[in-house]
Amino acid sequence: MSTPQLAWLPDPTVATKGHLWDQRLSQAKDAAPDWDTLLDLARYNLNFMRTMKLDRVLTRQFPEPPAHLSVKPVRLALLGSSTINHLIPSLRVAALRHGIWLTVHTGEYGSYRQELGQDDDALKAFAPTLILLLLDARHIAGFLPRNADQAAADTACQEVVERLLPECWREAKSRYGCPVLQTSFLPVFPRLMGSAEALLPSSSANFITRINALLAASCHKHGAIFVDLAAEATRYGLEAWYDPSLWWRAKQEIAPSAAPAFGELVGRSLAALAGRSSKCLVLDLDNTLWGGVIGDDGLDGIELGQGSPLGEAFVALQEFALRLSRRGVVLAVCSKNDEANARLPFQKHPEMILREKDIGCFVANWNDKAENIREIASRLSIGLDSIVFVDDNPFERSRVREALPMVNVPEIPEDPTLVPDAVAAAGYFDLIELSAEDLNRSDQYQANLQRQSLQESATDLGSYLNGLDMTLIYGAFNSTNLSRITQLINKSNQFNLTTRRYSQDDLTALMADDTAFGLWFRLTDRFGDNGLIAVVIGRDAAEGIVDIDTWLMSCRVLGRGVEEATLSVIAAQARARGAIALRGTYLPTLKNSMVADMYSRLGFTLLEDRGIEGKSYILPLTEWMPATTSITLSSEF
């Protein structure tokens, strides 16, 4: 009997930093609470016992979310039809692994419908921000009549997928104001006709297969978030996830030994919801993208392409990377090489799938890789925690892990044929939905690099900016771009004056609120559309003041006068509401020091300095004139 592993994470029974994981946990247990230490301990291939032990320390030291955590805490209600309590430690530890503080409430055994169908005091008092609906396959198969013919089976299938479950999701939304994570169902039933199972309408196994096939689309249609448990279970197989002896003993459908993998599956959805999916894949070259060393073996000597198993495996990894980039992951190269050598295969090798144009940032030199990864993050204007670094060399991996603990560094199998699956299994790039922005992101970064090279060639910044032909398009929040706005509000950390997080429902309420306004901004230039790059929320306050509740911007468009142009739009909006002044607030976090003095730079006067509690500023509008920028404004009101 195998056990699902978190195989991309380091082995806790191998000493790191001179200590075994178990010793480090004991030290953490007796030390002052430190979130980062626990987060580091969560990033190991933990079995269910180690997960339980870490969870004990976590819940003892952090009964409340730690201060200064930039990710909104999650209050998860776990509702199920069988035993689910044994999964809670793994859920909390998986959330920790993704930097999220999670608290869990479970309902009474098997009473999810009562809890969703009528006001449940305990659940109301808990005030969930998310509900995980985890129903066991036997419960679902109970909706199929025992002697069902084809028509009855079809009806039952529709009943579950189009009525029962969507009703639960709607109830969750209307009663508790939160979205639902809906898992697919484990194929636990013995098959009665083998490959011909689909011909038997009364087959429970076939019923579950059919429902699983329809569930993703139904979730999408009705606004639930789909968690594909059945697909994940194929990695180690049903026997690793489901133990009939534990079902009959304790009604545990997911075995405790699979709980860490289950927690991780949910943790990825939490991370994606919080906008924390990784954005950039940084690749080593020699023995990662091709076999051999380009500097020694030369263009003809490296192993790449059809004809040998390893040559084909390296092609497969490149193909995988290219497909990731087509759906929004930015690719970068970080290699210890002379740059000319490193670029040669991208330019000349006939079997290369990746070409220079596919690489958003190319760094090849002899410097420390951790430093180079910092450089890549800064050139692409993304956070280090949204980078995944793939390198065949264990030394480089542990060096980067140690110097930059926030960078995701998966363990890589020594056999190159296994690498694409290993990176995919790590799930760093998992999303819950695909936006047009995701599909265009790589192009946007590529265009950004062209802008940078133009910047390097243009000596005078003003003439460079004028040459960009920038237009800032803006408008009020609307239902079509609300999900993208929510995503930005919840993931922007660096250029974010107040780091206030709002759910989509909060923003829907705001759209109906006469005393507040929400603005979105998108920027186009001669290289393309940068997409939605800034969000502002203003609120009417006393004495003719408009409070800038939220102001955030994508770092991709820094240094182009977008802040000034944005301010002129805010000021115009405020004036139109009869305001005589704008009040700006800066709330410091660990990540937003880049905007610490933005309001002074924009001509605001400091009103009050409360130190780490923040600063407030005022800008009288009566005689204020907007600064000149190279940006044309275009209203979409």
């Binding site: 029974t13 269910f48 016992m49 339980m52 032990k53 002896s245 003993r249 304790a250 545990q252």
Partner: protein, 96 residues
């Protein structure tokens, strides 16, 4: 010695696990499950003697033992356990 290495040597017949090894390793598992590093077990210890030893803890013990020793305990074997001593013997029969 690390349990994993133990099993490695066992597999190749270099090392046989004796009753003391089994007792020691199962005691460690109990200490982890009940979060009590000072917990001691006797052969006649039963669920009544250990605070918190309910059906949930029992499953955690069984699953941890199965994973640690890489063995499988049958439902009838689990149901037949009267004391910790029975557990030692059942495990020992499978690993020696």
């Amino acid at each position: 010695m690390d349990a994993r290495n133990n099993l490695y040597y066992l597999k190749f017949g270099v090392l046989k696990m004796n009753r003391n090894d089994v007792v020691e390793q199962i005691t460690k598992i109990f200490q982890d499950v009940f979060d009590d590093p000072n917990l001691t077990l006797k052969d006649d210890t039963t669920a009544q003697d250990v605070p918190g030893w309910d059906s949930v803890a029992m499953i955690n013990i069984i699953v941890a033992i199965e994973e640690h020793f890489n063995i499988r305990l049958k439902t009838r074997e689990i149901d037949g356990l009267k004391s910790v001593g029975d557990l030692y013997e059942t495990v020992l029969a499978k690993v020696s």
